[in-house]
Amino acid sequence: MKVGKHEIILAVIFCLVLTARLLLAFSSSEFTFESYFSIRQIEHIKETGLPLYHDALSYGGREYFFPPLFHYLLAGFSFLIPFFYTLKIIPNIFAASLVLIVYFFSLKLTENRTVALITCFFAGFIPIFLAESLSVSLESFYLPVFFLILYLCVDMTEKNITIILLLTIVLVLTSAISIILVISLLLYLLFTKIEGMSPSKREVEVVLFSTFLAVWANLILYKKALIAHNVLIITQNIPTTIITQFFSNLTFVESFYTIGIVTLLLGLYGIYYALKTKKKEAFALTSSVATFFVLLLVKLIPLHIGLMFIGIALVLLSSLALKEIMEKLSNVKFTKAPSTFIAFILMLFIGLTILPGLSLTVNTAIPTAEEKEAWLWLKENSPEDATILASEVEGHAINYYTHRKNVIDTNFLLVRDIDKIVSDVHTLYATPFLTEALPRLQLYHISYIMMSPRITEHMNIEKLQYGDARCITPVYTTTITIYKVGCDENS
């Protein structure tokens, strides 16, 4: 590929995005709460060669199952780069690669390098993707893979087919999102058929292959979970209260900020333009937007995942809108109209998307120094078989730092009666009566109860009301209080 001005700008954008990500990632030495699950898995793979499928700490002891490719990748890198830097750098490189994918995809859609550069700049700073993929997160890996597959499906040369097949296998071994890819591709075939454009032979064959691969692989991988949870497997067994919280914590207007107002408006116009001009390449993106939108509507996927996918798809579709605007502006007498527009749109994007997006990133939940200190204290001062009560958000971090059991965390698959556990945890924090708390404390064998500002805000309480009972002793008191539970049936 000839290295011209546009390629240099692309490299600059990539470096800019990567730099911004690394700066944000390294602004704290901690990781997001969710990341600690992956970190434990990666450490276990490094030690034993296998993922930690039987975990003695999570929920007091349980089985997991998940496709481990992402964790193996990071474990592999950690043999070359120090562990901490692997966890901070590699996921951000994966996430930043989206910039390159969006550039080439946009170029295919518009055949306009300038528009492609603007679009890839947008993609690098989608607020929700930036916030959710800074730390060790699966999304930093499978999102770029997902869109790369879509791009290659649209640009289906013989060489690309081999890459598509390999990437589909990679996606299947990374996440159950492969099923959503298949639905998007099937919808794409349907759209093209409805619009009177016959899909090519290769497209049909690739989609058929992907369908059977995804179905077969997910049936095998999730066999136990299918039997345990039936249709609830689609929601990953996320408790109904938590799913509802996802959707109620974010208003309709706020959800637009997570995607970016500029990209949203341009993306919607892009959808209209694609349907009007029957641009086949855009149908793949439109079908993804439709798929994720419907899944969000029926609350089958977490809100942040749906918004990330929709956000990136809209960024790509916005390139069609940008192209049309630029073409119209180039016919205007004012010769500098296109470049003025570019400057204007970039400023608008920075003002309305990047700056609000940074606040989203800054507010991403990571453990505070006080919390870490409290957990390390617990690690030194509690028996090895102790169980610690906290909210589900902190569950993985508690396992990681204290090496003790938790009552609940955010990995809900293969957990029976999850709604009851969520309800019990809430009762344990909210009830004023020890008599109501006691059976639950015994049921879950709870030895310590954590009270922190995060927990009080999450549980919407002010304090542990039965905390002054005889058998409940505060053993650690700073901004965080840890209570030791010494209650038995006679308490």
């Binding site: 013989e158 087919i161 097949l165 032979k201 290769r202 064959e205 690739v206 058929l208 292959f209 369908t211 059977f212 691969l213 179905v215 077969w216 049936l219 095998i220 066999k223 299918l226 039997i227 039936n230 249709v231 029976r416 009666d417 009851k420």
Partner: protein, 463 residues
């Protein structure tokens, strides 16, 4: 390369044998030689009875299959119960072969037919479905030989085994007639004539036509979700692809598409409809398989891998299903527990458990079950169902004891499955009372099973 017809039949027989013998063989190797399934337990018990169930103390509805089997005296019953479904399975496969051998896709359809979990479920244990499916195929075969009048005799047998099955057969017959543009009047005549003996029996009150319909979720349709009598997801996908391929001929196959949709919806209400759906899917799946094989793929490697994936998905469904059957009741632990119950209790005493355990309690403990898989055929079913649900949910001892005494329930058979499904593994409802109240004495406990006895204490003892 065309395989000679005799070789085709031989290979199909081998495949059929392997598939049908797998559940029983694996169970035997796992030291559980008992045939799986509640229906088999019921059939083996009721065969020798003459329209009266001495354990449940109620008349039984006339079932032509059981009547016919009970008249076979040249073979031991235990052997007969194992052999009969196998023979019916083989005959069904051969009947299908004869029916379809002039169709282009016949080998694929028969392969999918044999490789479907529904086929294994129906023909690896004795149940009414094995005879129904065989009779359907026989009736269609005779009908297609232009001997409609003779097919009446075959179709007329079906309602004496299951009335719903006959109506489903009638729908299939009419749909086929529309597809082949037969005179629909002739089909009506066949259906009506076939129904005449049943009508007569109904007027004589010797047969009941009660059916059990219960709305279940879509997850209750697929074997991948742990359901025994269900369809396979890969086969459904193949069938959908087959329909999509045949879509240009939509006028001809419109009836078939409509039928599939109706059967799919109906399958959420009745296991019988699920089974019929499971046997329809291979017809459409066969189109898809042939299409994949004969299509000129742009990339040969992709063709081979896709076909391999299809084969692996189907194989996975079968293996998964066979694995499930090996876990099915009864097992030695259950039989042991029920034998102890039989020794401990008196003949007149009633046992409370989930309806899924009813037939096993009657067979191995020889005691009356409060509810079983046939209770819906009797007029008191609604009241009993309400009582059952109240007892399961109630933590109030007074409410529970009143119902126990009213219904004369003395024993409770509780297994792990009930604890999971009815109480979510919590000490709730009846389970709470069984574990906490002094009025319930645990007389047996093992890893998965507990049996309690209800003991009336005096008022002072109750305080």
């Amino acid at each position: 390369m065309k395989i000679p017809e005799k070789t085709q039949v031989f290979l199909l027989i081998v495949l059929c044998t392997l598939v049908l013998l797998a559940p029983g063989t694996i169970r035997t190797l796992q030291k559980n030689p008992l045939p799986y399934g509640a229906e088999t337990a019921y059939a083996s018990r009721i065969l020798q009875q003459n329209q009266y169930d001495p354990v449940q103390e109620r008349p039984t509805t006339f079932n032509l299959l059981f009547y016919g089997v009970s008249r076979i005296s040249f073979m031991e019953q235990a052997m007969l119960l194992k052999l009969l479904p196998f023979v019916l399975g083989m005959l069904s496969m051969l009947m299908l072969f004869l029916l379809l051998r002039k169709e282009r896709n016949y080998l694929f359809i028969i392969f999918l037919f044999i490789a479907s979990p529904v086929f294994i479920y129906v023909f690896s244990s004795l149940n009414a479905l094995s005879a129904i499916i065989f009779l359907n195929l026989l009736g269609f075969f005779i009908f297609l030989q232009k001997r409609g009048w003779l097919s009446c005799f075959v179709f007329a047998i079906i309602p004496f085994i299951d009335v719903l099955a006959f109506f489903l057969t009638a729908i299939l017959l009419m749909s086929y007639a529309v597809y082949q543009k037969y005179k629909i009047r002739d089909v009506y005549i066949i259906i009506v004539v076939s129904l005449l003996p049943l009508m007569y029996m109904i007027t004589q009150n010797t047969i009941s036509i009660h059916q059990y319909f219960d709305l279940t979720g879509i997850h209750e349709l697929f074997v991948e979700f742990g359901v025994l009598a269900g369809i396979s997801l890969p086969l459904l996908i193949l069938a959908i692809i087959g329909i999509a391929i045949k879509w240009p001929q939509q006028r001809l196959l419109f009836a078939a598409y409509l039928l599939l949709i109706l059967f799919f919806i109906g399958a959420m209400y009745s296991t019988m409809i699920t089974i019929y759906l499971g046997f329809l899917l291979p017809f459409f799946g066969g189109f898809a398989l042939r299409y994949f094989l004969e299509r000129k793929w742009s990339i040969q490697v992709l063709r081979n891998i896709t076909l391999l994936l299809i084969f692996c998905s189907l194989l996975f469904s079968v293996i998964s299903f066979v694995d499930q059957t090996t876990q099915e009741k009864p097992n030695p632990e259950m039989v042991h527990a029920l034998t102890i119950l039989k020794d401990f209790s008196d003949k007149q005493e009633l046992v409370f458990s989930s309806p899924q355990n009813g037939f096993f309690i009657e067979k191995y403990a020889e005691r009356k079950a409060f509810l079983d898989g046939k209770s819906y055929e009797y007029p008191d079913y609604t009241i009993k169902k309400e009582t059952y649900e109240t007892l399961i949910a109630s933590r109030n001892f007074e409410t529970t004891s009143a119902l126990l005494e009213k219904n004369n329930i003395q024993y409770f058979y509780i297994d792990t499955q009930m604890k999971q499904q009815l109480w979510n593994n919590r000490e709730d409802g009846l389970l709470f009372l069984l574990m906490r109240s002094r009025n319930f004495v645990r007389i047996y406990a093992s890893a998965d099973i507990e049996i309690y006895q209800y003991v009336k204490l005096s008022e002072q003892q109750n305080i």
